[in-house]
Amino acid sequence: MTLLASSAAAWTAPVIDYHAIAPEIVLAVGLTVVLLVDLFTSERNKWLLSALTGFSLLGAALPVLTLALHEDSVRSLFDGRYVVDEFSLVMKGLFLLAGYVIVLLSSSHVEEGDYWRGEYWFLLLTSLLGMVMMASSRDLVSVFVALEFLSIPAYMLAAWRKRDPKSNEAGVKYFLLGVFASAVMLYGMSLLYGVANSTLLVDISKSIDLNGDFAAVQALAVVFVVVGFAFKVSAVPFHTWAPDTYEGAPTPVTAFLSVASKAAGFIALVVLLLTAFPEGRDVWQPFIWVLSALTMTIGNVFALRQSNLIRMIAYSSVSQGGFVLMPLAVAGGAAGEAALRAVVVYLVVYAATNLGMFGVILAVSRKTRSGDIASMGGLFSYAPALGVLLTIFLASLAGIPPLGGWIGKFAAFQALLTEATPWAYGLAVIGAVNSVIAFGYYGNVMREVWMRPVPHGDNSAIVTPSSLRIALGITALATLVFGILPGVVLHFGDMADLVGAFGG
């Protein structure tokens, strides 16, 4: 009792830096507006919603820009539980833009399918808000809340096609495993709190040193927490939900999951590893090493066997996750900054490329209405533009210069090799070999596009709605620019320094 009383006495209202949380506020307002508008608009005017969603995302992006340009770049709220630094700003920017592209991708799709549009946009915004918060969270509680904030809407989105048993299955699997994973993670978090007597990551970092009486507990806690996020980023063997969910969920949602929520998982992971357990690296570095190797390899091996395009992409994105994990296997020490940069760079490039690819798939599936790889047959012959774009995106994913993907892989390798240990080289070689295997299935799609006949020989052209065109334009442009002038994207990575990490 006394304890509570004393803290109550000490309580003073925190000063809130509204500029710092402006993006979140804008998003919150935006999603309420969407909700209300949805209530009071007739079916004819539902198109307003997508527009609103898009605008609120761009609107939220504005303060991010102003914050980035503002000189005192680090703003810490709620005594360090919610921090706005370059890292968070870059990631917020990424989420908001990715969200905008997803809006572009999905608008036509959502308009045409008989979906509950209002809710769709609402949930999309909510989930994005969760991600934006995740970027800034520096406290177990806020991390947890942000995580659920972005996950729960995602569960619902996955199950969005209510009448479609596949979609249901997707939702349920995602949900149950997600909740289970976060539960396990929570258990780890509770132990962390117990050891560190604080939920503030910076404080935790002080007491997690893997020695003393509680070394075992610390190790256990670290592993469990990592597992929680490993699930989010669908690292093997926690990836099992991903293919099923991706296949079942509506394609735009799949795009959303495979890009945005995965990215969110990664930044949470990075934040925790670098700010909370820098001293715990003896536990998590080997763990990540194994996860990364498994993820790349298993993901590729599975992807090679797929005949369903989306499922193949699911596995490809799994193995891509392995490449993002790669630098983290040495991060912590000197390689920490490089690893952070590599992760950011990879996520940015990967977001652009992958969204672009989903854009093409959406466009093509409007005609073929099929998820088979074979349905891409002869694409180049009747829709050269789409064919070339798809080729560009696939090549970028395969990491072939001068397309964006290669700089992501390059950064990953570079960060990995800054620690010139045999382990690092070993993982690098595994990664190299995997990047070759990966081409096995990317090339397979290219082969369909370029060298195979059109299925059922119908060469009817594809009508691509303007929003989709814009999305494709943005992503393709980004992919090329990142590839040819990698300085641009590497710059993001460079400025994204993370407060609290590297003893800073």
């Binding site: 304890l3 509570l4 803290s7 177990l140 509680v141 947890f144 809340v145 659920e148 729960i152 569960y155 619902m156 199950a159 209510k162 009448r163 048993p165 596949k166 249901n168 299955e169 997707a170 939702g171 349920v172 699997k173 949900f175 149950l176 909740v179 289970f180 539960a183 396990v184 929570l186 258990y187 978090m189 509770s190 132990l191 709190y193 117990g194 007597n197 604080s198 939920t199 293919p243 099923d244 296949e247 079942g248 066997r305 499922r311």
Partner: protein
């Protein structure tokens, strides 16, 4: 203080929950098992909070309870959904997509 006993209780609850999640084929039961895990976490948090004398644990626990409520809401909704579509809430039928 009886911290260690609380922790033990938490651990046991956690294990039961995990067992439930893995072993049960019934969606609702799985949901309940997850609730068990979450509550074991809550117990841990509170025990630590009392031992360390800081309020963070309580706060965290409150958050978890709130979020858990939301999760259950969504979960039950999903369960209803599959029940509508396939007149059963057995999880093992949910294996259309594999491989």
């Amino acid at each position: 203080m009886l911290t260690s006993q609380f922790l033990l209780l938490g651990a046991i609850l956690f294990c039961i929950g995990v067992y439930g999640v893995i072993a049960r084929k019934n969606a609702v039961l799985v949901l309940m098992s997850i609730e068990l895990i979450l509550n074991s976490v809550n117990i841990n948090l509170l025990a630590f909070a009392l031992r360390n004398g800081s309020a963070d644990g309580h706060t965290f626990a409150l958050y978890i309870i709130a979020v858990a409520a939301a999760e259950v809401g969504v979960g039950l909704a999903l369960v209803l959904l599959i029940y509508r579509n396939r007149r059963s809430i057995g999880l093992d039928e949910l294996s259309e997509m594999r491989g």
